[in-house]
Structures are given as structure tokens and as C-alpha cells.
Symmetry: C2
Subunit: 406 residues, 2 copies
């Protein structure tokens, strides 16, 4: 099968041709044509390498190399095949491809494993087409059921269930995945820590907790020329004071606390009109839940004080929350030992981003292994990890699977 | 002519029926159907009261009561007939209607004046349909020529010249208005000063100067979860510091200095992404040009310092500028004396908003007389001035015209 790739580098490039944009990015959103083509191509690629392949009824693709022991548990390795709009070629894809190559290599070199080895190309993680994220791993682990997608629409008004059916999947009698011994996800860091610290491998201890808030500040819109400063109730004046106090408060905690105002709307947003309302979001993250709660209580108290001081109405609501998740310490110890033995530099760290592996912690021990992302950039055509770093990650994964399954 | 109004109150209500919105606002944008109907109705109303009426070739409507002296100069009084979208019924309309009633009253009571008395319903002042403001007065005073509107489009892609022709005007051989002795504009304040100070009449000394700026702050967009605070180049962090320093600097000047950030855009404006760019506008006004320049130099210096401190790129450009305009002091003295003689409370003030009268200062002495606006609200269905305040303004205007023309 000459059209299929043989090396890690070739395979990354090959998979990125499915959904390639003119700007060099990759767009492969859930249940789109390019998404389906990518999954089908991965399926054929795995079959060519002796994997038993199958889809589940929502579009997660599996490739299995079975043990002789019919009762043996399974070690699942993989990541997601979907991308954001104009994303990079490593996010998700790397973990799937490395899984195939690692298992294939072990099988060729050592024959049948004692435990079943299986790779999964999860259908969806990004939440970039429909307003739901980690759909693939969420169904496998019982976090979601079909009810969670009923009524969801994409930006063009296409219904989730229609898109799924159109793509050939019908979500029938879906049952939780069982008999998993471990889930391993190899992924690019999507942050700058490994590059800044000059480390080859990141071992994820905790996936940080997230809390997202929406803040509305209401004042009085008025004519920019005829309203003296002292008579104004300008919600933007309040909002900038709040945002500054948020940034300053975030500096009072350890480095792991991050707080971001990513979205801000001014109304009516006209140059010669004093704003009447400002809405903004806060995304706050930390690996320790109590620290996040302390931070939230601190900045929200300050917001209401500032509002009162300036005669503004302040509303604050939490609209999204994820608790911190601990990854499996035994698996992490194994990764750490592998790095030590092979002379690979590593960094034990937190993940500021969510990943499929955190959903698997509900049903089995799970680990995430990071490789560096150049300049921390991801979700962009500029996403890049050097070939050497990719190979190092594959080497660690292969050794880990060997130690677990043979 | 039973359908035409007889009192000031009736006339305000009557004119507001042309372009009345379901929310109680009035929409009468330049060269629209309702705009033309309003001008034609005003024309007939004036003719019914003995005025000689005519349009100029861009749609300014005039009603004239001539003197016997063919060489006598003209005292022109009036304001604009157009409105913003869903505006109020007083802004502009009051000055036109009061002009008609004042001249009509004087003519009936004292007969022919020594100077010609003329009212103008200017075609456009608001700039709410096409991106040009004070079109009517600008053409009469030589500020604009036909070239200034070539290529202008409204939000629906209609060409300015096509809209004008469709409305019946062809702008042929347009020449500057000459032989004007004075221009008088009676207008609602559109600010809260008179109400807050409990004064009946505002005498405008200066129309403030305006400078408008666009500021772009560029940083590095990044993942909100994986980028430590100390590694960020967040343009919103810079922007909120800049805006706060702007507000604080504005407090260091006298009350007449106002600075507004009315428009702000964050990009990419996504809750879980650190912004890469923030754009905002500044509208700064003051009656003294040198103060405005000092203020601008002060805040712009601070902006560049803040940008440097945070590793951000800052661009600042001035995109709009109006120099302060002095209204005629002799006319103002007359108004002040009239108020004193009639026991009417007054306030000598600046106008923070622009008006047609400021364009007429190029060709003749000009005055603006304000009446209070409830809560300073205008450009809104909630715009309101009490009947008593409207009548007081009409009384002052009538007396002023009497003193000038008889």
C-alpha cells in the first residue's frame, strides 16, 4: 500500500492532507466530509498494519491488536482526530498516529502482547463545530449520553443528530467502555513551558480546574460631548478597574493561577457615545480547587465594591466549571523512570488545557504525556513540534506500552 | 387649513408624525420618503402663514418674509429637519418650528420687518444615513462641495447622489449663501447642565473642539490555560491600564474637559483565548484648543510608556478633529439682556455637541440658544423638553428677532 505512510513524520503530513486549508491550517470538524475521510483513511492504514478495526456507533475509530488471553484487559492509547477551524496538524493527530506506530512496532518486534493493545481515534474533543467538547471520550466514559446533544446546532443551523446520521453513525445501544487497564494520551503541550524550560517530555500530574464567569456592568449611556466626567455612570470605567484588579489579584497567588479576560463587549460601542453596558468573561484556572474558590471570592468582592463606588450595577455569574483532575501517579512514575533510564529530560507539570484523558480517569488509570509546542502556539497553522521531539514522545510511549503489556 | 398646527406644542407633535416609529421615536434620515414628506408639509404650513417658500438644489427648505428694502440683509433662523434612527421629536425640529412661529408672530403683530426674516429647515445635520454630517449648512457656508459626497453610500449600499436625485434634488450651480446679517439656532441642550443647574436658557459661548483617536494595542494571542501570567503579552492588560490613565488624566483638568472611550474591540474575543489585539477610540473635547493638545500629549505619552512596560505594540492615530468655535458675543449679549429683562434664568455655557450654527460662523455672526433636555437624554424616543421650557425658548427667540429686524 504505497500511498500509506511509514514513518511518524510521513504519517503526520499524510493525515494533515485531510481537511487542509489554503493557509496551511487543517479543518476537520466533527462529522464533516474531511473528518470522515480522515477516519476512513486511518482505518485502512491500521488494517494494512494488521490491526482489527471497528467504529463504535458515534464515530470513534478503534484499531486493536489482541492478546491470546481472551480475558485480558486492554490498554487503550490515542487522542482525537477532530480539529478547530484552521488548526494545526499535531493537536490530537499526533496521539493517534503515535499510538498506531507504537503498537505496530511492539507487535512486529515482540509478537502478541499479554494485554490487548488498542488505539483509538476519538471522534471529537475540540467543541469547535457544536457546543459540546470531548464528545468521543465523554460517551465512552459515561460523562455524556445521547440526550446531551439533542437540539444542538452548528453555526449553520445543522442539527447534531442529523450531522451524525449523515456521516453514517446512529448511536445505537451505546454502552460504556469496560475492561480498560489504562488510557494513555500522547499530546503536544499547547503551552510554552517545556520549550522555556528546555525539557523533552512533560508528565502531567493534574489537569487544572477551570471556572468561567460572565460579568455585566450597567451604567448610563449618554452623549460623549455634553456629559461632564463627574456626572457620568460609565460602565467601561468600572470594567477597566475590575479587570485591572483581577490581573493584580492573580499575581498574589502562585504561578499556576491564570486568569484571562478573553471576551469583552461594549454597548452601544459607538465612538461618541458613553457606553451603557459592558459585558466580559473571566476564565480562571488552578490545579487546586480551594485556591480557585479563594481567588473567585476575592475578585468578586472587589468587583461589587468598585461597582458601588462608581454607581454601577454589577452582575456576576459562573457559566462553566471543571474540577481539577489528578492523573494516575503509578503510570506517571513509570513514565518518569523511562525518561531517567533513557536520559530524556522531563518536567512534572500541570496541564492548563483539558484533554480526553481526564474523562478516562473516571473508568481507569490514565496518563498524559506532553511533547513541546514551539512558542506554545496551537489551534493555529503555526502549531509546530520538531521531528526530534515527536520521535522522543513516541519512544517513551512505546516503552511504556511495552512495560505495561508485555 | 385645519390639518396644520397652530401652537408650538401642536406643531412639535405634528412634525413628529412624519417618520414616527412604533417605539415612539422618530426616524427621518436624509432624502428618505418621510424626510421629503416632512419638508413638503413644512413648506405648505409656512405658505399657509404667508411665507414665500423655496427649496435650494440640495433640499434645504426656506420660508421668507421679506422686508420692503430690497437691499436689506437677511436674518436666518432655523435648524435641521433630519433625525438619527429612532431619535426624538425636539432635536432640530424645535428650532425650525420655533423659527416659523416667531417670524409669523412678529409679522402679524408688527408687519413687515426692516431686515428680511427667513427660516430654514436644513436638510441634514446628524450624519446618520451617510457618513457626512451638517450637509445642509455645510453647503450653504462653503464647507462642503458636491465632491465631498461623491461615492458615499448608506448602510444599504445606496449612493448619496442617487438618493438625492430620487428625492428630487440635483445640486445644480450651488452657490454660497450671502447677505446674511445673522444666523440664530434654537435647540434642545442634549446634555444635563441646564436641568442640573435649574436654568431655563443656555447661551452658548463656545462649541467645544473635538479630537478623536483610534488606538491599537497588539500583543500575543495565546491559550488561556497554558500560558502563565508572567509569560503573557496581553493587549487587554495594556488597554485597561491606558483607559484608566486616560480617565485619571481627564480629572486633572477643568470640568469642561471630557474624554470618552465609546468603542472597543477585542480580537479574537473568545472566552478561553488571551486577546491578540485590542482597538479602542477616544473622543476628547474642550473649548480651548491648547488644553486639548496638552491633554492629548499627556495621555499619548503615557500610552506608549505603558505599552513599552508590558511589551506591547501601540499605534495611535487621530481620525477626526474639529476646532473650537466661538459664537457671536454681541448676539449673546442681546440674548443675555433679554433674559434679564424678562426675568428668565440663564446659563452661559459651552456646547459639547456640534450644531449647524457653528458652520454659519464662517459667513455671518451666529448664536445658539439652548433649552433644557430632561436628564440630558437625546437621540432617543425618551428625549423630552417641557412645554413651558419650549415656550420660554420661543419667547427669547421672538424678542431677539424683533430687536434685530424691527
Amino acid at each position: 500500500m504505497a500511498q500509506f505512510p511509514n514513518t511518524l513524520k510521513q504519517a503526520i503530513e499524510w493525515l494533515s492532507t485531510f481537511g487542509k486549508d489554503s493557509d496551511g491550517g487543517v479543518t476537520r470538524t466533527l462529522y464533516s466530509k474531511t473528518w470522515r475521510e480522515a477516519q476512513d483513511a486511518l482505518k485502512k492504514w491500521m488494517e494494512g498494519r494488521g490491526f482489527h478495526t471497528y467504529y463504535d456507533s458515534i464515530g470513534n475509530l478503534f484499531g486493536r491488536l489482541p492478546s491470546d488471553d481472551a480475558e485480558a484487559p486492554t490498554i487503550l492509547v490515542g487522542s482525537h482526530v477532530d480539529t478547530v477551524k484552521s488548526g494545526g496538524k499535531y493537536d490530537g493527530a499526533y496521539g493517534v498516529i503515535a499510538g498506531v506506530l507504537a503498537i505496530n512496532h511492539l507487535y512486529e518486534k515482540f509478537g502478541k502482547p499479554k494485554m490487548n493493545l488498542e488505539v483509538v481515534s476519538l471522534c471529537e474533543e475540540e467543541g469547535s463545530r457544536f457546543p459540546i467538547a470531548c464528545w468521543g471520550s465523554g460517551m465512552m466514559t459515561g460523562v455524556y449520553s445521547l440526550n446531551d446533544v439533542v437540539g444542538l446546532m452548528d453555526s449553520e443551523g445543522v442539527n447534531f443528530l442529523d450531522a451524525m446520521k449523515e456521516s453514517g453513525f446512529h448511536c445505537q445501544n451505546y454502552s460504556l467502555r469496560n475492561n480498560l487497564h489504562a488510557f494513555i494520551e500522547l499530546h503536544i503541550e499547547q503551552g510554552p513551558s517545556l520549550e522555556k524550560l528546555d525539557k523533552e517530555i512533560g508528565i502531567v500530574q493534574t489537569i487544572v480546574g477551570q471556572k468561567r464567569f460572565r460579568i455585566t456592568v450597567k451604567g448610563e449611556t449618554n452623549h460623549a460631548g455634553t456629559t461632564l466626567m463627574k456626572w457620568r455612570k460609565d460602565p467601561l470605567h468600572g470594567a477597566v478597574k475590575m479587570i485591572l484588579s483581577l490581573y493584580e489579584a492573580s499575581m498574589q497567588y502562585d504561578d499556576n493561577l491564570v486568569a484571562t479576560v478573553g471576551q469583552l463587549f461594549v454597548a452601544p460601542n459607538v465612538p461618541n457615545v458613553i457606553p451603557g453596558q459592558v459585558d466580559f468573561t473571566i476564565d480562571a484556572r488552578h490545579p487546586v480547587e480551594s485556591t480557585l474558590i479563594h481567588f473567585y471570592e476575592r475578585f468578586s468582592r472587589e468587583f461589587f465594591l468598585l461597582g458601588k463606588e462608581l454607581g454601577l450595577e454589577v452582575e456576576l455569574s459562573k457559566w462553566h466549571e471543571v474540577l481539577p483532575v489528578q492523573m494516575d501517579s503509578k503510570l506517571n512514575d513509570k513514565v518518569l523512570n523511562i525518561c531517567c533510564e533513557k536520559g530524556i529530560s522531563y518536567h512534572v507539570m500541570n496541564s492548563g488545557a483539558g484533554h480526553d484523558a481526564q474523562l478516562f480517569t473516571r473508568i481507569c488509570p490514565a496518563a498524559i504525556i506532553f511533547v513541546p509546542s514551539r512558542a506554545g502556539i496551537s489551534h493555529s497553522p503555526f502549531e509546530y513540534t520538531s521531528h526530534q521531539d515527536l520521535e522522543t514522545g513516541l519512544k517513551v510511549l512505546t516503552q511504556l506500552l511495552y512495560e505495561l503489556a508485555y
